[in-house]
């Protein structure tokens, strides 16, 4: 079984499959996901490597009668309609439970409700030989509350063998990356040591659920045709083509059948195997099918991707890009890329890569993946990225059929259409990073340069005065003045004003703000007074933990003031700020 090759990987895969199921269940309903995962040691029998895994969600729930089938049988799930969905076959959850059963011989406990007045609880085991669930126990509970407030969702609890301590890094990586691409989800994980990991939502916007669509003729194979034939209600091939395939209408169907030299009147269920093969080959070779449209795809969107990255990586800079839809072999796909720099972005020596396929993080087999090859092939120096800088690149591909290289490996194949989109997507965000880094370098140089004035001018005044024999030192304020406006200020949820700086007589005014807090982000604004009106000179900027802002003001104003506040309620930052004025 792919993904269950060893104890470590199995535990990881089990968690992943069930989490993905839960996310799917919430999204289908349009409900903001609340997912709770608990992994604990099974103390009985004294074995160290047996665990209990419990996953609870607030998704659509499973109707009572379908629970045993949903988890106790292979191939349940309507994946004959091609909607972008997470798992490839819908087998994942069942595989996980099966693995648990095989390694521990214990049943699975499933509690679910679709929001009706009752909550159903089943204790199941899978009869592998007969491919059937065995119900060991069934209970019914009352679903408390009024109709609108009643609980809906699913709880799955089962036992499995595994090695948490080996799997932990990958599990945490997975949860973090999932939190990035699902910033509207609340995910809570309690590990066997009792440690709590919380990934909180920062947005309530969810992407629209993907629309259902039919497969495109270019992308089908013999097996798919056979599956469709098994469920079709059409009695002739002409209707069959119109009914089950994407963007095939009367005219296209007629033209195609003519091309394929197949009689449109034949009953599809009566097609012989060699005729099915001929049909499939003709589909691949017919050049006049309409190209697939991407409405069946549901990419994250730039806003959500940005929100997710800001939430989990807390970078200094994030740039995102969504490419236009494209196709490979008749399958539509969209590539989304992002780059995050600085702040809490991990520093791993080289540019770090997160890969996603249909919103599922890919954590294994990185070096064979096309995105990895592309990232390694880029000369990052051209984008002002030096080795040792904390940079993470994200690549997300969504498609009705993800172009995996081989079954079982988390490697996206190196197809020209796909790699072109990935390369261009990465270049787009890398360019934005380059602009940011160049500006930052320039600003850093300016900080150093202006600080030199504050170091030397007072000395010039001091020794000139002593030399010239005057009693008092002349003030150098007209030449250069630094006014510290904030020192160790703890930010609050509302904007707080700094004292004002008289900027009129200076030719250059520079504003410096530093957020000294190691964890929290603050928002900064700079305002200037001109003709009795305060105007924004610097729009609200995010200053993440341990980062600085240094800006030269381009507009000449009478007064300048800085405003700061905490970016998140009850998560204050600590701010130092000064304003420099340079004369002449």
């Amino acid at each position: 079984m792919a993904g269950f090759t060893n104890a470590t990987r199995s535990m990881f895969t089990a968690i992943r499959e069930l989490v993905e199921n839960s996310l799917d269940a919430s999204e289908v309903e349009g409900v903001l996901p609340d997912i709770y995962i608990r992994l604990s040691h099974d103390d009985d029998e004294g074995k160290e490597d047996v665990y209990t895994l419990r996953i609870m969600d607030n998704g659509s729930g499973i109707p009572a009668t379908q629970v045993p089938l949903a988890f106790g049988q292979f191939l349940f799930g309507s994946k004959y309609r091609l909607r972008q969905a997470r798992g490839t076959f819908g087998l994942g959850g069942t595989m996980a439970i099966l693995y648990g059963q095989i390694t521990t011989n214990k049943p699975v406990d499933i509690i679910s409700s679709t929001g009706v007045s009752k909550v159903y609880e089943y204790k199941l085991m899978i009869d592998i030989q007969r491919n059937r669930p065995v119900i060991l126990d069934r209970r019914v509970h009352v679903n408390k509350g009024r109709k609108e407030n009643r609980w809906h969702g699913t709880v799955v609890e089962f036992h499995l063998e595994g090695d948490y301590y080996r799997a932990m890094p990958k599990i945490l990586d997975y949860l973090k990356q999932t939190a990035i691409v699902n910033p509207y989800a609340n995910i809570t994980f309690v590990d066997p040591r009792g440690r709590l990991y919380k990934y909180q939502r920062t947005t309530t916007k969810m992407p629209p659920p993907p629309k259902v669509t039919l497969p495109h003729p270019y992308g089908v194979d013999v097996e798919t045709i056979q599956r469709i034939i098994r469920i079709t209600r059409c009695r002739n091939v002409f209707d069959f083509m119109k009914e089950h395939f994407h963007r095939v209408g009367e005219q296209t169907a007629r033209q195609f059948l003519e091309f394929a030299e197949i009689d449109g009147e034949i009953d599809p269920t009566r097609l012989r195997p060699d005729e099915i093969v001929k049909l499939v080959q003709a589909m691949k070779n017919f050049g006049d099918f309409l190209p697939p449209d991407a409405s069946c795809l549901s990419p994250l969107g730039e806003d959500l991707l940005r929100a997710g990255i800001l939430k989990e990586l807390e970078p200094e800079l994030v740039a995102v890009s969504q490419r236009s839809p494209s196709t490979y072999s008749g399958y539509p796909f969209i590539v989304e890329t992002a780059v995050a720099f600085g702040g809490k972005v991990p520093n791993r020596g080289d540019v770090n890569l997160y890969r996603f396929a249909n919103k599922i993080p890919l954590l294994y087999d990185e070096s064979g993946d096309v995105s990895w090859k592309i990232v390694r092939s880029i000369n990052w120096r051209r984008y002002r990225v030096a080795p040792g800088m904390p940079v993470t690149v994200l690549v997300h591909i969504c498609s009705t059929k993800i172009p995996y290289k081989t079954v079982g490996k988390e490697i996206i194949a190196d197809r020209p259409e796909v790699s072109r989109e990935i390369l261009n997507g990465i270049r787009t965000v890398a360019r934005q990073l380059k602009r940011y880094l160049s500006r930052r370098e320039r600003v850093e140089r300016q900080v150093r340069r202006l600080s030199i004035f504050s170091r030397y001018l007072p000395k010039i005044a001091e020794f000139s005065a002593k030399l010239g024999g005057s009693q008092s030192q002349p003030s150098t304020d007209k030449l250069y003045r630094r006014q510290t406006v904030f020192k160790d200020l703890m930010t609050s949820d509302q904007y707080v004003d700094s004292e004002t700086f008289e900027a009129e007589s200076y030719r250059n005014v520079v504003v410096y703000v530093k957020n000294k807090h190691r964890g929290n982000t603050v928002n900064v604004r700079v305002l200037g007074l001109e003709s009795s009106q305060w105007r924004k000179l610097i729009e609200e900027a995010n200053l993440s933990a341990s980062s600085e802002l240094y800006e030269m003001l381009t507009k000449r104003v009478e007064l300048v003031k800085i405003q700061v506040r905490s970016a998140r309620t009850d998560k204050p930052g600590i701010v130092d700020a000064f304003i420099d004025g340079l004369g002449e």
Binding site: R449, I452, F453, R455, Y456, L457, K459, I460, A461, F463, S464, A465, K466, L467, G468, G469, S470, P474, S475, T476, K478, L479, S505, G583, E584
Partner: protein, 364 residues
Amino acid sequence: MSNKIAKESGARRKDAILSNLEELGKRFCGQIGEGVFPWVEMKSRSTDNIFYNPELRQYDLGGKTIKRSSRIISHLRPFTELVWTAYFAHELLRERKTSTLRDVYYSAQAYDIFFKDQAESDGIITDLETVTGYSREGFHVFPEERSAVFGDLTIEYTVPGYEGRRLNFTSHPDGMMIGPALTDSLLIETGADKVIVLEKGAMLTRFIEERVHEKFKAILVYTAGQAPRSTRYFIRRLNQELDLPVYIFSDGDPWGMHIAMVIISGSANAAHLRELATPDAKWSGVWASDIPSYKLPSDKLTERDVKRLGELKKDPRYKDELWQREIETFMKIKRKCELEAFSRYGLSHIVDKYLPERLKEMED
């Protein structure tokens, strides 16, 4: 024997320097008060601005100037250092203390001024010389090297603890070290009518033993090779304040010629200063033509010597008849010799025969 009385006192110079420095401080304070970043303009010391001035008969700076402004970030540090150095020099003069180049580098640290290395502080001191026109010895920053003087010259000290005390330079037969106290002293009177400058220490001792200072009424100055700045300044004072002609005796080779020329017309390094040259001093030997005339033991010229002679021939400072004649003679006979060579004919030969003949020749 008439005694010459000093015409000018050194104390007046000191006052001039003090007020020059104070003016600088007042100027900067004024600029700051007006909201102007203080700046100063000085002559450029780059090689393309150093010329030999035939009227002054020394190296001089041309018209190019550079402006150093505290508005320019790269100038801030040297400008601050310049102001501090001016202040420090003022303090030295006021408190009547002395310092050396190395000492200045360390003293700065007490005032929270940190030079990167001594080369940096040396450069700033030279800048201050350029801005004010006075040599660092005027600020009481003295070099380490010392040379010596001997003869009938009476000076009066001005340094703290010795004010008013007088000394005659015949008192110590090894000669007196020319240091800060001597450089600042008042020249009171002398029984000499000339100055003889010697490159080599052995010659000083020989001349003192042979009582040259009596027989020829000369003040002897020993330079220890290339004359240090304070020595050159002192020679100039003897020439200007006491109206004494100066005769320079160095080894008979291109290097000896150069030693004499630096005393006469200064060095490129000090082109910004006028106080260190004695244009009326005369190179009096050993000349190339002396080698055959006095049948002196000699050495062959090296390739470097020949090359050097070629350079000197084209140098504008050496265009006078005497220099050109001697350069050509060196090149023709291809020999050089030292002052000591005269001992071939006895220890007192140089004093008995050479000196009187040469001096007579120079006086005519």
